[in-house]
Amino acid sequence: MSKNQFRDDFPILNNVKMNDEPLAYLDNAATSQKPQLVIDRISRYYSYENANIHRATHALALKATDDYEQVRDQVRHFINAKSRDEIIFTRSTTESLNWVAQRWGEAKLKPGDEIVLSILEHHSNLVPWQQVAKKTGARLRFLDFNQEGVIDLNAAKKTINAKTKIVSITQVSNVLGSIQPVKELALMAHQVNAIMIVDAAQSVPHFKIDVQNLDCDFLAFSAHKMLGPTGVGVLYGKSELLEKIDPEFFGGEMIEEVSKNEASFKSGALRFEAGTQNIAGVIAFGAALTYLQKVGFDKIAAQDRSLMESAISALQNRSQVKIYGSADPANHTGIISFNVGEIHPHDVSTVFDLDGVAIRAGHHCAEPLMNRLGVSATCRASFYFYNNLDDVERFLIALKDTEDFFNRHPSKESSNG
């Protein structure tokens, strides 16, 4: 049916069957697939370039160090950070957020201080703050969202007040796909001298992020959701704030002193990366960024839009299907959460699975949001730019199979009732 110029770059999309059906991969919000060139970059690294980095006294180690550090520059430009020292490599979004919570939160919060989150947060941006709150005596407050799945700024104005020290919000909901007004929230946070943290795990893969424009203080994301390898995350932090954080790891007074001057100028972020890093992962993430930039966010947004329009308009005609969040395809960022009548989401996802369509079912690590929606779980189909209208069609067929099967085979009781 529809041609998609990028599919050929992804071996898994062309080679894999799931339950004897060609794979329709609609679980991109969990992790994206990887293009050949990312896979090749890892192979090349281990086949020809592998060495431990930093303190390099031979040519192999120096090249690996340079390649690794070059990705820091790439990430810097990708999100328009002011300086490469603002880019810290971590394992994942989860680690990035835990890191901020523990190193900034625990050090700065006092009893009575408030941390403002939203009811939409992924557990990764919730549990670390619960822990910090418990330890410091700070209090968590939650922003609610409107019919569009978007945080209500008027309510936010009341919640963010002089007691607020931290506002930490997801930029795109991993369940509803809705885009949150993090720039406006950053402004509110700064007006009361709080810091603004953005969980960008679901946004960075889909649209251009400019941290200077957002004026956020920290921002976290994961390579594996944007074509990169597993085990690599990023924490962006404003230099002024990072400088106030104790390094995890350093070697003696002299070096500490130096790091305040020249050494910290050249390797500011390094002091937070203790031990051997995921060197191959970071280097391959560089290849992923290069590829993503070649694709371009314009194309990605256009494809997101076209897939969302086609899927959502079809779903709106299905009386048994309930879509969560906005009715507007533009506010879904590739993500659709839904339920099919009273059928348990895991029964739904099993039908999809047997049809070769990979979706998720569950609470998506967002239990407070599930409670707010009044459900214990949803199905979630999440698309990326290499998905095409065929995938939408496969999705709709699986949905029809679900409805057909459970309508045709009702349980005796429910047919009685």
Binding site: H346, L354, G362, K412
Partner: protein, 146 residues
């Protein structure tokens, strides 16, 4: 796989057992209570039993879950009622071997539960089928019942 697979997985007896209300709920003064958690989906099931003279004299479960887990819990409850703890031990281990499909086993004492004999072909659902049984196994392990 598609529809053919569906018919195998969701037999009528499964669909019916899933909505069977007889063992749903809580007991008054249960002898033992056990939660079981399916890490694949996050669903939690609570099983309660009353034991007297090492026999199960009442059994109930509650919790949310998929058709498979609910059906399997109903079928287990129906099977376990009035049985001795010892005989249930045997059945649990028969059932667990059956659903993982690792060895061919006697399933002569499993009754309706043998409807899950092909579930190992649906690996994402094996844990669902085993959930209630794991809870009972854990109960028998954790309690003396004397």
């Amino acid at each position: 796989m598609g529809l053919e697979g569906l018919n195998q997985l969701y037999r009528q007896v499964v669909l019916d057992a899933a909505v069977d209300q007889r063992y749903r709920g809580q007991l008054l003064n249960p002898t033992a209570v056990q939660l079981a958690h399916n890490p694949n989906c996050g669903d939690v099931l609570e099983l309660q039993i009353k034991v007297s003279d090492r026999h199960i004299t009442a059994i109930a479960f509650q919790g949310q879950g998929c058709t498979i887990s609910q059906a399997s819990a109903s079928i287990l409850a129906d099977l376990a009622l009035h049985q001795s703890l010892e005989s249930m031990q045997t059945r649990i281990s028969q059932f667990q071997k059956m659903i993982t499909g690792k060895e061919s086993v006697e399933i002569d004492q499993l009754g309706d539960a043998s409807v899950f004999s092909k579930i190992s072909q649906f690996p994402t659902r094996v844990k669902c089928a085993g959930l209630a049984w794991d809870a009972l196994e854990q109960m028998l392990k954790n309690n003396q019942f004397d």
